[in-house]
């Protein structure tokens, strides 16, 4: 075995996109911790600043740079690591490792690959090589063909027959794949898949629709020791991407013989692949033949199975398996990669037994994906081989029913409780979606509520009757609660089955609070049991607990000084990994201050749910009941519950503040009243007015009758939104009364509560994060948005420090921020958004307050990293009673660093069919990247590279620019022409370009009138970038612009819907210049340019 490396390069997975989310922050963070345990220097590269792994106390050297061959080569050249660990950065990490090898970089600098080999990566990714390998070791694979051309695909179709599964090689989360039932679908998916695959290769495979899907997480060390960490069974049968499947662990419907057959196969595969670390193997197992028939069932001695997929790296599933078992897969995998043997490592959970063992679990785990269709109501909700979920929740309990019910609670999906049904499902003759969609789980409930038998539903859906029988038990309990008197025994049975107080109240015609007090009276309270990897066989030190209704409580309160940090739940659009970053930082800050940190969260992907992040972890739904119960448990006999921090867990945690206050539970930091003040429109307006700070005119209204005169009074365009906002959901810029009426029709359908109408001020949007201790206010930094107001701040590119603000404007922002924070009695973090519109206030600085959120924001990690101000730590210490002055921070704006950092949003639109990609007030991005450098141009360029929006000189552009933007676009057109870009344009835009004396090819935007039309020139690769701005008003997916934008997404080319973004991208083009590659610390410390690189 080669020597242990002394310096290891770890590649992160980049921005959060569908298919690659917080699980890789968890994995990368674990890897860095493992390197530290091994005494190895870790060098981490990631473009995503919202990650814990890019904290400088996690990795030794941190680069926040684009994940490209060029940038990584320069990191390698500078750092000279002796090894590269590519298996913890998702598919991105593996792909880059291959690319670095192919570019000769690894060889040139003598960097060896650890954890996996090129052969292994190749074997697992190249379908044909993989199939050959499996066949050689006698493992069954479904009949298939690897095709690189349409002709070959036709041949395969004739040989195997439809339906066929199409999987492109080397793509994330199954991008570009699908199941084809018809010839048309087959053609569309195969051509799309060939385009999506970087090597233009797709696998066409026999469809195993309706078979069971199982996953095994296995590990191997260099000595050949192999172990299984966990097996997991998908409730959804084959045909749904595992990331979109409801998953249960351990498997429930397998006998020991079935299980051992698959386990043995998985171990054989990891052995053959020679992986040193972790690996995920996915299987299809024959279903019950009386449910889904298969050939040969009568005479088969065992269930046939097929190997479907192998991931030779840690994955979303391994993160889930780690949280489901307590076994830290990524951490152990990283240590194995540097040469450790499994039997040398200790099981960190028991601290006494060996890491070379297989976890035994004594509970049931249910994972449910969190899909973005609450935001994308026009999106295609069907689930297939292409993943669509942005995140997931996990719940743990002693029965499947209770774990399932808790998982549904954890989804935090507005009003979608276990009782939810689409109103349409009540219409006679209306079909419920029993095919795979994000609503199928609820449809299964609905079906069984209507007295269909589990067997019938099983035959229709392929879902194993075991699961449906369990759901039928839940339905039976619903009926008991509806019809019987609520006795102690019935209430206890319902709680043991996972029914929340709220659901019990709804069914038993009571109130949640009444059910709660009844529980207290009858002594029906949850106990907390430990996740310990060993089913209680050994004493365990892990402070990782879940609630259940049983006899013995293991999470006994120790009475120490402690604070609860409420986490942020599943990753969703508008509430991303940034809030997990803050929660983790908060836990660490508490510990550093000598206070025990308790964490509550429901998301298995995250660092916050790593058992060694906090002193005690509760894996619980983040709703009122879940949090109050665990606080009651922490209160113990003393009756004194610890304080709760609600500032760091995004809207999830903030929304709990009222409930906590009602229950007289203490909140650390800004009070529930301060939060209410920010959210209650009337109070907020009055406060801002009393401070004599300008805000756009507007009002809160309840009805359309109030809305129309209000809008008229403030003047169109107006910005409308519900008073409780998460990621700008249902926020729109409205141009006239007709649109306003339509908006109201939709908004009222979905929610109650007031609607806010504000004057829409077009101007520069500026955002500030500040920390207030009640006496002074520290502003770590001001960020200026590149897109003008109207684009959601989460979808905007943000620049630090501001590039356009005047001194007067800057001073006004500092002054307003300070006064608002003090007046609102903020204790901790506050985020304030401003619009700078000088024309709207000619006699003043022109700075208007739009929104105040007395909580941690999405930009806290970004700003903490570029300024070096430990914002979360300062805020936590403030909550613990230590003033900013005592912490050594003076009031006002923190001196600006000698760097420029640009945060750019990243979208997952390729995964979401039928979703419009234009930028507007509703947030659509799933993640972010950061470009940091010494000049604005270089920082923007890096942000664009990292977010896949880079435009190269000479790139042919398609322009389709709305009437009102044409004048403004002229400068852009000239710049493009000057940079050598051939121009294509739709009718009106072409006329404008010609009028400027610049050559242009006109293409029609009428899709029905001849070719080539706009979509053709995108699809055939004639143009490689698009600028498409919208006619005013609400863009509808019916417009032609929609097809242009979707075509651009499908072709994976930049599509700018804001002239501001386009200007930034083209500006970077005209001023190319070199960019730096340096550790983050160096930028911050302002080292002179050019050193080292």
């Amino acid at each position: 075995m080669p020597d242990k490396p002394s310096k290891v390069l770890i590649i992160g997975s980049g921005p959060i996109v569908i298919g690659q989310a917080a699980e890789f922050d968890y994995a990368g963070t674990q890897a860095c911790k493992a390197m530290r345990e091994e005494g190895i220097t870790s060098v981490l590269v990631n473009s995503n600043p919202a990650t814990i792994m890019t904290d400088e106390d996690i990795a030794d050297v941190v680069y926040i740079e684009p994940l490209t061959v060029d940038s990584l080569s320069r990191v390698i050249e500078r750092e000279r690591p002796d090894a590269l660990l590519p298996t913890l950065g998702g598919q991105t990490g593996l792909n880059l490792a291959v690319a670095l090898h192919e570019a000769g970089v690894l060889e040139r600098y003598n960097v060896r690959l650890i954890g996996s080999t090129l052969r292994t990566i190749h074997l697992a990714e190249d379908r044909e090589a993989f199939r050959n390998m499996l066949q050689e070791i006698g493992e069954p694979v479904p009949e298939s063909a690897v095709v690189e051309t349409w002709e070959a695909a036709l041949e395969a179709r004739d040989r195997i027959g439809l339906p066929l599964v199409v999987r492109p090689a080397y793509t994330l989360g199954g991008t570009g794949g699908g199941i084809a039932f018809t010839e048309e679908e087959y053609e569309r998916i195969v051509t799309g898949g060939l385009a999506a695959s970087p090597i233009h290769q797709v696998l066409v495979e026999r469809s195993l629709l309706g078979w069971k899907e199982l996953e095994y997480e296995v590990m191997r060390d260099a000595n050949g020791t192999v172990i299984t960490i966990c097996n997991m069974e998908n409730l959804d049968p084959m045909g749904v991407h595992t990331g979109d499947s409801i998953v249960v662990a351990p498997s429930q419907t397998l006998s020991d013989k079935d299980h051992q057959m698959l386990r043995t196969s998985a171990l054989k595969i990891i052995t053959e692949l020679g992986i040193e670390g972790g690996c995920n193997v996915q299987f299809a197992l024959a279903p019950r033949p009386d449910i889904v028939p298969w050939a040969g069932a009568e005479s088969s001695p065992s269930l046939p199975y097929y190997v479907i997929e192998v991931n030779p790296r840690v994955s979303r599933s391994s993160a889930l398996a780690s949280k489901a078992t307590g076994y830290p897969i990524a951490r152990i995998a990283a240590r194995i990669a540097v040469g450790r043997r499994l039997d040398e490592l200790v099981n960190m959970v028991t601290a006494s037994t060996s890491a070379a063992f297989e976890p035994a679990i004594d509970y049931c785990v249910v994972k449910i994906p969190r899909w973005p269709f609450d935001k994308f109501q026009f999106g295609d909700r069907r689930l297939g081989t292409q993943m669509k979920a942005t995140g997931e929740v996990m719940a743990v309990d002693r029965t499947f029913e209770a774990a399932m019910m808790k998982a549904i609670r954890s989804l935090e999906n507005s009003g979608r409780t276990s009782l939810w049904e689409d109103p349409e499902w009540f219409i006679e003759g209306h079909e419920r979606p029993l095919h795979a969609t994000d609503e199928r789980l609820w449809a299964l409930f609905a079906e069984l509520r209507r007295n269909r038998t589990p067997l019938e539903v099983a035959r229709q859906t392929g879902v194993d009757p075991w699961f449906l029988e369990r759901i039928a038990r839940i339905i039976a309990m619903e009926r008991r609660l509806l019809s019987e008197e609520l006795t102690p025994s019935l209430l206890r049975d319902a709680k043991r089955m996972g029914f929340s107080d709220a659901i019990i109240a709804e069914l038993a015609d009571s109130l949640p609070e009444r059910v709660r007090s009844q529980r207290e009276e009858w002594g029906i309270e949850p106990v907390y049991k430990m996740v310990d990897t060993c089913a209680a066989e050994f004493d365990a030190a892990t402070p990782y607990f879940y609630s259940t209704y049983e006899a013995e409580n293991e999470a006994v309160s120790d009475g120490a000084d402690r604070v609860l940090v409420i986490g942020s739940g599943p990753i969703r659009i508008g509430q991303g990994i940034e809030f997990d970053y803050c929660s983790v930082q908060a836990a660490r800050a508490l510990q550093a201050a000598g206070v025990k940190a308790i964490l509550a969260n429901s998301n298995p992907e995250t660092v916050s749910t790593d058992f060694d992040t906090s002193d005690r972890l509760y894996f619980e739904p983040l709703d009122e009941e879940g949090v109050r119960d665990l606080l009651a448990n922490e209160a113990g006999d003393s009756g004194e519950a610890p304080r709760s921090v609600v500032q760091f867990g995004g809207q999830t945690a903030v929304n709990l503040s009222r409930a906590l206050q009602r229950a007289a539970l203490p909140i650390a930091g800004s009070s529930a009243d301060a939060i209410d003040l920010a959210e209650d429109r009337g109070r907020f307006e009055a406060l801002i007015a009393s401070l004599d700070i300008p805000q756009p005119p507007g009002a809160a209204v309840q009805t359309i009758e109030q809305a129309i005169p209000t809008a008229q009074a403030v003047g169109y365009p107006v910005l409308v939104r519900p008073s409780y906002v998460l990621g700008g959901r249902a926020m729109e810029v409205v141009q006239g009364a007709e649109e306003l009426e339509r908006y109201f029709g939709m908004a009222l359908q979905e929610r109650s509560g007031p609607i806010l109408i504000d004057k829409y001020l077009e101007g520069l949007e500026v955002e500030v994060d500040a920390i207030c201790d009640g006496e002074t206010v520290l502003i770590p930094g001001i960020m200026e948005h590149i897109e003008r107001a109207g684009v959601h701040s989460g979808d905007s590119m943000a620049v630090y420090p501001p590039q356009q603000l005047t001194e007067v404007q800057r001073a006004a922002i500092i002054d307003y921020t300070t006064r608002i924070s003090l007046a609102m009695e903020v204790r901790g973090l506050v985020n304030i958004q401003y619009v700078v519109a000088p024309s709207a206030q000619p006699d003043g600085p022109g700075v208007f307050v739009i929104e105040v959120n007395p909580r941690s924001s999405r930009t806290v990690p970004f700003l903490s990293k570029v300024t070096g101000v430990p914002m979360v730590r300062l805020a936590v210490n403030v909550m613990l009673g230590k003033s900013l002055a005592e912490q050594g921070y003076a009031p006002g704006l923190w001196p600006e660093r000698n760097l420029v950092a640009v945060k750019a949003p990243v979208f997952s639109m390729a995964k979401l069919v039928d979703v419009d990609t234009y930028l507007g007030p509703e947030m659509k991005s799933t993640g972010e990247v950061m470009g940091v450098d010494v000049t604005f141009a270089a920082a923007v360029r890096k942000a664009l590279i990292a977010s896949d929006l880079e435009v190269k000189p000479g790139t042919p552009f398609l322009l389709s620019i709305s009437r009102q933007s044409k004048t403004e676009a002229e400068g852009l057109v000239r710049a493009l022409h000057a940079a050598g870009s051939p121009l294509y344009a739709t009718e009106g835009t072409a006329e404008m370009v010609r009028g400027m004396g610049i050559p242009v090819v006109e293409v029609t935007k009428k899709l029905s009138e001849g070719h080539p039309n706009v979509v053709d020139v995108v699809r055939d690769g004639t143009v490689r970038a698009v600028i498409n701005t919208l006619e005013g008003g609400r863009p509808s997916y019916m417009r032609d612009g929609f097809h242009i934008r979707r075509a651009a997404v499908d072709m994976r080319i930049p599509c700018f819907t804001s002239l501001d973004t386009a200007r930034a991208a083209i500006g970077a083009l005209s001023a190319p210049g070199e960019y730096q590659i340096r550790p983050l610390r160096e930028y911050r410390e302002g080292a002179p340019a050019g050193r080292g690189a």
Binding site: D256, K257, T264, T353, D362, E469, A472, A535, E537
Partner: protein
């Protein structure tokens, strides 16, 4: 069936432990009182194999995995001709199994065999009790008060004082056949005699599948009788209870060493340990599960093994040619012995699995390899 809320219709029942602690639940299986040593198993699957494993004779078994009975019961997953446990304790016994081979629910299965069970128990609390206190005698009862049950339990014999081997061993020698097993087409047909101390069927199946002629003989068969069968090798099987009660088997084994290759499994391993001078001792709560890591001291390879034992060999007192070849990674207990000169080895775990991982099935091949090297008699 799909209302599924059967627990309300099940009678209250309880487990009373010898230290007076009580675990309330509902009765499943047969309506009988039953007593035994209460032990826990952490395997997440394989309850039917465990229920029929003779090594559980005299014991009340609790499974740490809370949902039991998921895939029902069938005629293939049995390890002996009957249920062997004294009782069965679970968090949840499902009446809604789903599996293509299932023919009866767990409850029905227990009831048909006359075995008492207990469900809706906080089995994790019970496991923690056994882990901290060590295994305890206990009794399952429906109709007695805890005090009555405790008094009765105290009048009953302790697990360790009883010889269960005589009860579970075959009373007469028999040749093992299994029509479901297709023998290898050609090759030798070595004759393996299995000294049945409570053998699991899968051991016999493994030998048969490898082409052996398999004869199982009663536990009290003497060495000369065994050698009179002309064996090419002898396997000393697992079984229940305290190995210190098995002097007769130790002396039988003494007569076999040096005259035929020997493989010992579990109780058979403990017998070999005793033969070579080691004492055996009772573990606090035993090793029962499918996740036990064992390291081969020669290769450093770790194998995940299936285990079910309450006693262990004390390696320190081992003398002469027998040496410790494998150890348990968690507690360092002896997991395998290897004779320096003779083809004699033993393992504390169950290479036949069933339930559990198949990782050490190759030990049957290793045994048969030594048989082959010795040269076999029959053809």
């Amino acid at each position: 069936m799909s209302d599924g809320l059967l627990n309300g219709r099940r009678p209250p029942a309880r487990l009373v432990l010898a230290d007076g602690s009580v675990f309330e639940g509902v009765g499943i299986g047969a309506d009988v009182r039953t007593s035994g040593e209460v032990v826990f198993n952490t395997s997440m699957m394989g309850y039917q194999e465990a229920l029929t494993d003779p090594s559980y004779a005299g014991q009340i078994l609790t499974m740490t995995y809370p949902i039991q009975g998921n895939y029902g019961t069938n005629s293939g997953d049995v390890e002996s001709s009957q249920l062997q446990v004294q009782g069965f304790i679970v968090r949840e016994a499902t009446d809604l199994p789903s599996h293509w081979q299932s023919t009866a629910t767990l409850d029905e299965y227990l009831r048909a065999a006359g075995i008492a069970g207990l469900a809706e128990v906080d089995t994790r609390a019970l496991t923690r009790k056994l882990r901290t206190h060590g295994v305890l005698m206990g009794t399952i009862t429906r109709d007695e008060t805890p005090a009555q049950a405790l008094a009765r339990l105290r009048s009953e014999p302790d697990y360790g004082s009883k010889d269960y081997v005589a009860a579970v061993s075959t009373s007469t020698a028999f040749d093992f056949e299994d029509p479901a097993i297709s023998l290898p087409d050609d090759g030798p047909r070595p004759h393996v005699v299995v000294l049945d101390l409570g053998v699991k069927r899968n051991i016999l199946r493994h030998l048969r599948r490898r082409g052996c002629t398999v004869t199982a003989v009663p536990h009290d068969t003497d060495a000369e009788t065994i050698l009179g069968l002309n064996p090419d090798g002898v396997l000393i099987s697992p079984g229940p209870g305290d190995p210190m009660l098995l002097d007769h088997v130790v002396s039988t084994t003494r007569g076999l060493v040096g005259r035929t290759p020997i493989m010992g499994i579990c109780l058979g391993h403990q017998v070999l340990g005793r033969l070579f001078g080691a004492a055996t001792y009772k573990l606090k709560f035993g090793h029962r599960g499918a996740n036990h890591p064992v390291r081969d001291e020669l290769t450093g390879r770790v194998y995940i093994t299936s285990q079910n034992h309450g006693y262990a060999v004390d390696g320190d007192r081992l003398s002469g040619p027998m040496q410790v070849a494998q150890i348990h990674l968690n507690d360092g207990t002896v997991e395998g012995l290897q004779h320096r000169e003779e083809p004699v080895f033993s393992i504390q775990y169950h290479s036949e699995a069933s339930p559990g991982p198949h990782d050490t099935e190759f030990l049957f091949d290793r045994f048969l390899q030594s048989v082959k090297e010795r040269g076999h008699h029959a053809s």
